[in-house]
């Protein structure tokens, strides 16, 4: 662990830039993004296609190195640490749900959740119990021993949420968690997710192109052309945003 800097936020980025070289020139996929998320806060990252949401999320997830800038997670700069330390950060401090193919297909729902504890050498009796409780909380009490292939998309997404939370990470990231769900299920999943993030005091960030889902978040960050162009932190304003897109 190399750099430590003090930050009162669970997550703070300073002037993050990610550029890609391509045949048509340089692309600024993420252009000077500075943001802060506190523990217990659920944030949505929205914006049109190509605005840099997935790129930003990958950088926050310690999966992608920024071209420049700082990403402070629990005081450590993800941009400065070694590859091995990044793997450790992902395992210990970060929880994930992906858009698709979230789960290890040959592990049951419970085993998928327990895997996160296993990797962190924390799979003991209490750990097993907590995994069951969390799955039950997410309405999967009778699906614990099902393989991913035997579950619906929404059920799989909920297992992924349990896996993202079970090891008490500081930061929880979700990339399009509702992309493969119908509206009803999508609301359910995001609502439960938001509830758990608030309750367990995690910093949560969800990338979505579905503005209706921002109903459950505390803040909305709008990106365009790699830049953070607007922040909605006023709840009525956020609800307005969600409702506006619902009526469309």
């Amino acid at each position: 662990m190399t750099t430590t800097a003090t930050s009162s936020y669970a997550l703070e980025t300073k002037s993050v830039i990610k550029t890609y070289q391509s045949d048509s020139g340089t692309i600024q996929a993420v252009d000077d993004v500075s943001l802060q998320v506190t523990a217990g806060e659920f944030v949505a990252l929205v914006g049109p296609s190509g605005s840099g949401k997935t790129t930003m999320l990958s950088i926050l997830a310690a999966l992608l190195q920024p071209s420049s800038g700082q990403i402070l997670l629990d005081g450590q700069d993800l941009a400065q640490i070694s590859d091995v330390d990044r793997v450790t950060m992902r395992r210990e401090k970060i929880g994930f749900t992906f858009q698709a193919n979230n789960l290890v297909p040959y592990l049951s729902a419970l085993e998928n959740v327990e895997l996160m504890l296993r990797l962190n050498k924390r799979l003991d009796k209490t750990g097993r119990l907590r995994a069951r409780e969390l799955l039950a909380r997410l309405g999967l009490a009778d699906r614990m021993h099902n393989l991913p292939g035997q579950m619906s998309g929404g059920q799989q997404q909920r297992v992924a949420i349990a896996r993202a939370l079970i090891h008490n990470p500081s930061l929880v990231l979700a990339d399009e968690p509702t992309a493969s769900l119908d509206t009803e299920r999508a609301y359910q999943v995001v609502e439960t997710f938001a509830g758990l993030i608030h309750e367990q005091k995690r910093a949560g960030i969800m990338v979505t192109h579905d503005l209706r889902m921002v109903e459950f978040v505390d803040r909305v960050l709008l990106m365009r052309d790699g830049k953070l162009v607007q922040i909605y932190s006023d709840k009525p304003e956020i609800l307005e945003l969600a409702r506006g897109s619902r009526s469309q």
Binding site: A61, V87, R90, E92, F96, L115
Partner: protein, 389 residues
Amino acid sequence: MKQVFSIAGYLAIKEIWRNRGRFFLVSMVIALITLLVLFIAALGEGLGNGNREYISKLDAPIMVFQSKSDFLIQASRLGRDRLAAIRRVDGVKDAGMLGVANASLILPGNQEPMKIALLGIEPGHSGEPQVEQGNQLSTSLAQEVIIDRNTALRSKLAVNDNLTIRVTQGTRDEFFTFKIVGISEGLQFALQPSVFVPFFTWDRVRSKSEAEVNLSNPVANVILVKLDNDADINSVRQRIEGQVNNVETATLNQAIQALPGYSAQQSTLNTQGGFTLFIGVLVIGGFFQIQILQKVAQIGVLKAIGTANPIVAAASIFQIMLITMVGVAIGALFAFIFSLTFPPTVPIVFNGTTSLLAVVALLLIGPIGGLASIRYAVRIEPLKALGLS
């Protein structure tokens, strides 16, 4: 380190168990390859053994040939004068003449006569086999024979039975009858079961051309030499070649390699075995490579949630080894069961060392075949989990 193996083992076993049908099929393919490789090895061992058995079990380390005979036993002719000269050479403990010929063993009833190797040896000297049952030969002239275990098994003859052979001498078929005094271990020569006859009797009863029939001076093919000290083999060979006219010497190994067809046969079978192993490498490599291509997203997720590369690699290796080991075990079991059903005339011998070597080679084809896929797995970017890059 311990944690790497326990998680890797956990992932590998879970995946195999939840896809056991598919993995079992691969194991069965490996089992069939194992069966094939083991049988080719056993056939090579059986054929090689049938060819060289008598020579390889001799306790005389030097074989003396007529010079320029290219170590071909049938092409060499050595008379008694050479035997006396060899016995006088320093370091030679004993020397005995060996004559080889073919004959047909007459079996009771309407059975086809059995082709045998008729070997003339001197009782009490190098070349006479030790009997496991009955007695050694008594004199050089007696109408007695020792038969090897193969002859006994196939002809059902026993000690004290009479044995009749048919040979051609000049233009006539001649029949000779002997008493079996002893049975030795299996000592085939040129893939034929052996009958050992006292040398002078042998010279009388062997098949002969018209010109040879009236010749009185017995001639052996080669002379087998025992040493005072086996470590002196090279110096004794030099002395024999220096002091005895018109001879060349060979070690038993050289004599075996010079047996007609022996090297060609062995190298053919070795090549077949090698190719089968190579096919095994391709099959396993192909399977695991295709499997890894299907697993890119899944491995990406594992890495994204913080699974270290050594765990991913160890899980792949573990899986490949397990599948290979199960396949080889099943194949070896099949081979063993099949081998019990073969009659003794089929030249298949499961020799411990050869089979072990084949099994080790088979166990290696898994990891070698899977190498590319393991490399590939390690290089998968965790970003794949996000559907990026």
